[in-house]
Amino acid sequence: MTKAKCSEQDKALISALVDNEASVDTLNLADVDRDTLARYSLIGNVMRSETAPSIQLDIAAQIAQQLEQEPVHAQFGQESKSSKEAQPQQDNVIRGTWWRGITQTAIAASVAVVAVLGVQQYGATDNGADELPPLQSNPFIGAASPVSYSSQPALENAERGLRELQHQRIGALVLEHQRQTREAAHLANTANKDEQEQQEQ
């Protein structure tokens, strides 16, 4: 089914499906327009605050660019550099061969683990929650209408940009920890073997 043929009725059905208001049986999945489904589930994810750092990269770059012009927050010049560097990385992500064809929606959902982490008790320590920046639960709204940034006070923009960068960094750290612990498995094994060999000698 092409996009042109995707009627309002189909859209309503897809919407219901994504919102879990209709079961898969009522809708023949083969007939579903894939683009529409992907777009609707992304909207769903955003509304349920499941957006991921991979999407936020764009926002960070935009914010950073704006902040470059703010003399007060001159340090952000560096941030914009790192964010720009991050762009090709994102391309990489999408280019991955094994998952070719999976849209950004899929990536968003996969990193939802990180997003879930992001919205939980920031500040379970004795520092108290109020001392900590509350993590934003709907950052994607900003990206949908970037114009709104320019109409907001610069300071607020800066704070928001910072939160994004921190959010993004936390996501990156969590994934890195996961990857390192997986790769470290053989390190642990060799360390034990070395010890055993030493004991045997």
Binding site: A109, Y122, L162, R169, L173
Partner: protein
């Protein structure tokens, strides 16, 4: 004649005692063996605070090869495949990669599939109550941390097959932080068909082992909980956002802890923590640098580690 009595009585008693007086350590060893020898298909969920992750887990022996498949069922997917001593990870955000190891690094600590003896210095093994889990008679084994700086790990095993039925990270108040619970397990004579497909699959070659001495970061990490040892340290760019970090990985055999030292983000950001189930992320703003600690450890422990990091003298 007296001796004969003693021998007869002890012979009669011994088999009965063998099962009832199995130590916690023996139970855990039995599980490690059972998990590697049985053909089974299981479903389990991991519950972390308000989040939940459902997995499908299958294992079997086919043509002399050990095959294991662990799949995350929600989201875009995460697939972990083990063939003998090679584990391959398939994720949406990265190229698939293989690691040469005999256990999948997933929601269950790998040490449980190996030799738990290496935990004996920092944890004690305690035999718990019997109960019923996932419709099966179960025995609780507690791997109790010997100090307050770590979480304990509780394991419930099937009394018949010694397979894992439930496990949990427990803090020192006895609260369950992250639970893994099987909802279904099917032990069969032959391996599941999905495993046969794996045996025909092509895998990326295992990552080259880094033999050259790794970069020794010069940061001084002043405090670590008892029993944690350095596995590796280097300086590398993070996969997701390309930020540079000095990296340290520690392990006590049960859990791993990552320490990242990075250029600080701009602005006045207070230090703070995030938790999800047993996982703690503590971000410490030390002024000239940021320290982030991640691992399945209590918040206080992560905070102490992060605050102990100092610039080299």
């Amino acid at each position: 004649m007296k001796y004969l009595y003693v021998v007869l009585v002890s012979l009669w008693l011994f088999p009965a005692q063998a099962k009832s007086e199995m130590t916690a350590k023996q139970w855990l060893d039995n599980m490690a063996t059972a998990v590697k020898q049985r053909n089974f298909v299981a479903s389990f969920v991991v519950v972390k605070d308000r989040a939940m992750e459902p997995y499908r887990w299958s294992h079997g022996i086919y043509e002399g090869q050990e095959l294991e498949l662990l799949t995350l069922l929600n989201g875009a997917g995460l697939e972990m495949v083990r063939v003998d001593d090679r584990v391959t990870y398939y994720e949406p955000q990265a190229q698939p990669y293989s690691v040469k190891t005999s256990a999948i690094s997933g929601p269950i600590p790998e040490v449980l599939f190996g030799d738990v003896e290496q935990l004996a210095q920092n944890y004690s093994f305690v035999l718990g109550n019997k109960g019923r889990i996932a419709g099966r008679p179960a025995q609780l084994l507690r791997i109790e941390a010997k100090d307050q700086d770590k979480y304990s790990y509780w394991v419930w095993l099937d009394t018949e097959t010694s397979l894992l039925l439930k496990s949990a990270y427990v803090n020192n108040q006895g609260e369950f932080l992250e639970q893994l619970q099987l909802s279904h397990i099917n032990v069969s004579e032959t391996p599941a068909s999905e495993l046969l497909e794996i045996s025909r699959r092509e895998f990326p070659a295992p990552l080259p082992r880094n033999e050259e001495p790794s970069y020794q970061g010069s940061w001084q990490i002043g405090w670590l909980p008892q029993g944690f040892e350095l596995l590796k340290s280097d300086r590398h760019k993070l996969n997701l956002n390309n930020e540079l970090a000095d990296y340290y990985l520690y392990s006590d055999g049960l859990v791993e802890v990552s320490v990242f030292v990075q250029r600080p983000l701009a602005g006045q950001r207070p230090s703070g923590s995030l938790t999800s189930g047993a996982t703690t992320i503590y971000i410490h703003n030390a002024g000239a640098f940021d320290v982030s600690v991640i691992g399945n450890i209590p918040v206080a422990t992560a905070k102490n580690i992060a605050e102990s990091v100092q610039r080299p003298l």
